[in-house]
């Protein structure tokens, strides 16, 4: 029974990753999760300079979901390389760094530095719903996206390049294909979906930033659909995410077309949920007599 999967040249011991921004820099969860057991750890988005993030309130709960407008608060590239990267290096798991820039040049610069530092994979966040500049602009414009990926691709030698697509588009297939054509080794989706909530007593938005990203079980049907659609458009592996709370949810993504999955919001609710999911996947493939979990990918019977 083989749980391993390949994301480009990267071999994960199992398909379970963490979703960027929901697992800190790995450290925060090391008390609750044996990081060595994870397929990969994806850390919080890194920008060239440290970012302050948005003023509070930054999160609020919605029906079966949550909104966040963290505003990509992060320690910045230099600090990350010096103080955060060494911690994760001690673990026998793959390290993926999520990258956010304000310009193509910035994306390229950060990516090259991370590549030089030897991170296993770089995930281009072109879909952050709550920073004004950068991010989502690239995510909703195929031409911009093509230019961005092509430029970053040219500079990244070792690391596997993942493009994290925005769900905020009419036709995800076009964006998936663009990522593939421009040299992405894999795509990941979905990022949180722009949403908002209002306190009817004060008439104020529940988030100071007004709009934030919706994540959690509420968005799972949308995420599964997008993974399914993207899977029909590209041959590169897909990392599926959005509302995964347990092994059953993870399997839905794999069957829809994902090669690996990332767990986000669920970490907040059950810090050790990733381990539960890995155990649950093992159980499923055993019970179903499946030899390689990678054979489930895209096995949906939609006839």
């Amino acid at each position: 029974m083989d749980l391993s999967v390949n994301i480009g040249t990267l071999k994960l011991k199992n398909p379970v990753m963490t979703a960027s921004g929901t697992f800190g820099y790995g450290e925060e969860y090391s008390e609750f999760v044996d990081l060595n057991r994870l397929g990969a750890v994806v850390v919080k988005g890194i920008s060239l300079k440290p970012m302050q993030g948005n003023p509070p309130p930054r999160i609020c709960e919605t029906s079966c979901g949550m909104l966040n407008a963290i505003g990509l608060q992060n320690v910045g590239l230099a600090y990350f390389l010096k103080h955060k990267l060494p911690f994760m290096r001690r673990y026998d798991t793959k390290l993926v760094v999520n990258v956010l820039g304000n310009s193509i040049g910035e994306y390229a610069k950060i990516s090259e530095a991370l590549d030089d530092a030897g991170v296993d994979a770089i995930e281009l966040n072109v879909s952050c719903p709550n920073v004004k500049k950068g991010g989502i602009l690239f995510g909703t414009d195929v031409k911009m996206l093509a230019r961005l990926i092509t430029k970053v691709r040219a500079g990244v030698k070792q690391a596997v390049l993942i493009t994290k697509l925005s769900p905020n588009v009419s036709d995800i297939k076009k964006f998936a294909k663009t990522a593939e054509d421009c040299g992405s080794d894999a795509i990941s989706l979905i990022n949180s979906i722009p949403g908002m909530a209002i306190d009817i007593q004060t008439k104020r938005p529940k988030l100071k930033n007004v709009i934030g990203g919706l994540s959690g079980p509420a968005i799972k049907p949308i995420a599964v659909r997008m993974v399914y659609e993207a899977g029909k458009a590209v041959k590169i592996p897909i990392i599926g995410m959005g509302g995964i709370m347990n092994a059953e949810d993870a399997l839905e993504f794999l069957i829809a077309g994902a090669t690996a999955v990332a767990v986000g919001t669920a970490n907040f609710i059950k810090p050790a949920v990733t381990i539960e999911i890995i155990d649950g996947l093992k159980d499923y493939v055993e019970k179903q007599g499946i030899e390689k979990i990678s054979s489930i990918t895209g096995s949906i019977n939609a006839g």
Partner: protein, 268 residues
């Protein structure tokens, strides 16, 4: 020593109309909480409510701890439904705690409303050494008065409507008391938990008297362990020696850098 485990409910009883006391038995080998720390408790088994809810340590018991909570929305409504014997996912203790008063300092604890839950174990620990100021909207919302009477050096009560103790805010009561007490004005150290306007008032008193005040803050939380960056609070930070000019606002995490902050650091 674990901070993430399944506890067993041993009691969940109303304290008054809208407040409940939840007693949990914890497994052996769990981390012992300190006054001011908090827990993230599972709120229902389904996905709605979704996130865990934050509750302060109320009191340590022989086999675990207690939480004193007010019914607010769907999360606390779900927790209210717990019965003895039920299992509950617990993450904690989390965050920092109220620092002990320095030698010679006289502890003054100020609580508003359900804020009493957070300072109760501190008062208990300070074993009749603390002056306690406790305010609520009305008499019916004052909790644990007998216990507080026993545990405090002096217990001062106020209610907005005057139905118990002095009429008005607890900050007013605090100011009045300080006005007639030079020793406290010189040697007090303040600990406070309650609604924001009250904390701001406490911070004002402390700053006027040049006393240290520790305030416990609340912010919406998702993870409780410093990973999601959801619970930001603006804090003044300066280069050492740069003075007021060199100050800038940075965001700290209530769940990890707090919930207890020195009031002078907060961007009020």
């Amino acid at each position: 020593m674990s901070r993430y485990y399944t506890a067993i409910v041993t009691g969940n009883v109303p304290v008054n109309k809208n407040h409940y006391l939840l007693s949990l038995r914890t497994p052996p080998e769990t981390v012992k909480p300190l006054p001011g720390q908090f827990f993230m408790l599972e709120a229902g088994k389904g996905h709605d409510p979704l996130l865990k809810r934050a509750f302060s340590l109320f009191r340590i018991t022989a086999d675990g701890f207690q939480v004193l909570y007010r019914i607010r929305g769907k999360g606390t409504a779900a927790i209210k439904g717990l019965k003895p014997g039920d299992q509950l996912d617990v993450l904690g203790p989390l965050g920092n705690h109220y620092p002990a008063p320095q030698t010679g300092r006289i502890p003054v604890v100020i609580a508003g409303g359900i804020g009493i839950a957070s300072v109760f174990s501190l008062i208990e620990k300070l074993a009749k050494k603390a002056y306690v100021f406790y305010g609520a909207r009305t008499k019916d919302e004052l909790l644990m008065l007998n216990e507080l009477g026993t545990l405090s050096r002096e217990l001062h009560i106020s209610t907005d409507d005057g139905s118990a103790g002095s009429r008005g805010t607890i900050v007013k009561a605090l100011e009045d008391f300080f006005a007639g007490n030079a020793e406290l004005s010189a040697k007090g150290v303040l600990y406070s938990c309650g609604p924001m306007p009250m904390l701001r008032g406490v911070a004002g008193v402390a700053s006027e008297k040049s006393l240290k005040a520790y305030v416990s803050l609340e912010e919406h939380m998702a993870c409780g362990i410093g990973a999601c960056l959801g619970c930001a609070v603006g804090v003044k930070e300066g280069r050492p020696g740069a003075g007021k000019k060199g100050m800038k606002t940075v965001y700290k995490k209530v769940c990890k850098d707090g919930p207890v902050f020195a009031s002078e650091d907060i961007v009020w």
